[in-house]
């Protein structure tokens, strides 16, 4: 029964990883940009929530209503004012610029908030749990996190599959020039994609901050887990991202159960195994011709 519990906790942890990974996967899918500041931006969102909680006396979940749109606006500005300038120059310039951005964000957070670790306190729900019978219990917070992750994925899938802007995302991903010839303003479209990405990562950052403590330097780990979830699930597949997050979460909790120091390592090993045995990921979109 202890093992069932471990796997259950891992699956729920996967919900959080999927939240981090979704935004990363979205912008890579739409504009082939690898955003190395993705993890630091989630931590920035968590600190913004700290400010909202401390200065306005808000509940962290309520603060999210402010922080997510703010991060989305930041994403739109970041893309249209900075990253769009790098379009058409290959894959390296965006990597260098977002790497620089990552360092800037970390140092700015250190300067403003010091190196102390922080936490968002939602007033009890983070320790409350629901009993499933037979000595099994799951925390409300991981359950809510997973539910929110699934809801966001369902919403995003609907947006990409059915709405005009979603078709434009896929068209621009297929063929940028022809998308422009059909009247799509790629630069504005990319701004919207980055806004969505950072809005979602803001949710991830705040849920992280409620679940555990974080510091100015917590971003790169989040980025790594997000990458692993995306690769395990398969690039370009949103549901694959959820499964990738779950696989990574289960690997980490099972590893930690075997020996407390093995959690993160086991996650990396499973990631490497997937990369070795099925490099396209578990749910890769069918390869298209040409």
């Amino acid at each position: 029964m202890a093992w069932v519990d471990t796997i259950l906790q891992g699956l729920l942890l996967g919900g959080l990883y999927a939240l981090f990974a979704t935004g990363l996967s979205l912008i890579f899918g739409v504009m082939r940009i690898v955003n190395l500041a993705h993890g630091d931006l989630s931590i920035l969102a968590a600190f913004l929530a700290v400010v909202a909680v401390e200065s306005l006396g808000l509940d962290p979940f309520v603060a999210l209503v402010l922080v997510a749109p703010l991060m989305a606006a930041l994403g739109y500005g970041l893309q249209t004012l900075v990253l769009n300038r790098l379009l058409g120059q290959g894959i390296l310039p965006p990597i260098l610029v977002t790497f620089g951005l990552s360092i800037i964000i970390q140092n700015a957070l250190l300067e403003i908030f010091s190196a102390d670790s922080r936490r968002l306190n939602p007033g009890g729900i983070e320790t409350a749990s629901v009993a499933l019978g037979g000595q099994l219990a799951v925390g409300w917070l991981p359950l809510i996190t997973l539910a929110v992750a699934v809801a966001i994925l369902v919403g995003l899938q609907g947006l990409i599959g059915r709405l005009s802007v979603g078709r434009a995302f896929r068209a621009a991903s297929d063929d940028q020039e022809t998308a422009e010839l059909m009247g799509i303003d790629n630069r504005r479209l990319y701004g919207l994609a980055m806004a969505l990405s950072l809005g979602i990562v803001a949710v991830a950052g705040v849920f992280l901050g409620i679940r555990t403590t974080f510091t100015f330097a917590s971003g790169p780990d989040r980025l790594l887990f997000a990458f692993e979830a995306v690769i395990i699930g398969g690039l370009g597949s949103l549901w694959g991202t959820l499964v990738g997050g779950a696989v990574l979460g289960v690997a980490q909790t099972v590893g930690a159960k075997l020996s407390p120091g093995w959690g993160i390592l086991t996650g990396h090993l499973v990631f490497l195994a997937v990369l070795l045995l099925r490099p396209q990921g578990l749910f890769a979109k069918a390869r298209r011709v040409a």
């Binding site: 063929d175 020039e177 422009e180 010839l181 298209r288 011709v289």
Partner: protein, 232 residues
């Protein structure tokens, strides 16, 4: 006043000059043929009009506005729509989704999904299939239908018959007549002159990046056309 006026247009790919002082015009409702051999500059000229190539603003005037070098999406909003060479169907979209992307700007006009399906019944049959599943001729129909969904004032069709069977090409030319009857100004590029000369009101022949001959098809003899086309 002409709807489209290209005036002394020169265009470059890096240091290579592809167009030399090209001038051409299209009046509202006209069908214009652009012919010429491979590498004569036909596609480059279309790409400059459609906003894909950086050219001086005054080199391209549309409905009186200097629009040279404007971004392509802005030109689509004004009604300049290009059906690119090689069809360029979006591979991860279905047939119907490809058509809907054409309507992205939501320009008002006569063309709707239902009317495009009337024009190309085969697209209606295959609406749920991925674009790449279509044959070459069907893909060209889809590319033209996608362009029509933008409700163009000026439709640019590049290399309409390239790689297609003669019977398919005849079908496409019937469609061009329907589009012209709708009052849409069209500029059609083809290397095969036989069909296009019957359709167009005026023809421009390109050779080595310049216009080597222009006129009404009835006024052009075969010999003059051959000379302008091949330079012999």
């Amino acid at each position: 006043m002409s709807l489209l006026r290209v005036l002394r247009l020169s265009a470059f790919y890096g240091s290579f000059q592809a167009l030399f002082d090209v001038s051409l015009e299209a009046d509202e409702g006209e069908t214009i043929a652009v012919i010429g051999a491979n590498g004569a500059g036909k596609t480059t000229c279309l790409r400059a009009i459609a906003g894909v190539l950086p050219v001086p603003a005054e080199a391209v005037r549309f409905a009186g506005d200097a629009v040279g070098g404007h971004p392509a999406h802005d030109l689509v909003a004004r009604g300049v729509v290009m059906v690119p060479e090689g069809r360029r169907i979006f591979p991860s979209l279905t047939v119907e989704e490809n058509l809907l992307v054409g309507a992205y700007r939501g320009r008002p006009g006569p063309w709707t999904l239902a009317r495009v399906y009337d024009l190309f019944p085969v697209l209606a049959e295959r609406r749920r299939q991925p674009g790449p599943n279509l044959s070459g001729g069907e893909q060209q129909m889809l590319a033209i239908g996608r362009g029509l969904m933008a409700n163009p004032r000026l439709l640019l069709v590049d290399e309409i018959s390239l790689g297609l069977a003669p019977i398919v090409v005849r079908g496409l030319y019937r469609v061009l007549r329907t589009i012209a009857a709708e009052g849409t100004t069209t500029l059609v590029v083809d290397q095969d002159v036989s069909q296009i000369m019957e359709l167009a009101q005026r023809v421009y022949c390109f050779r080595k990046g310049a216009v080597s001959l222009e006129g009404r098809p009835a006024d052009l003899t075969r010999a003059r056309l051959a000379a302008a086309y091949f330079g012999v």
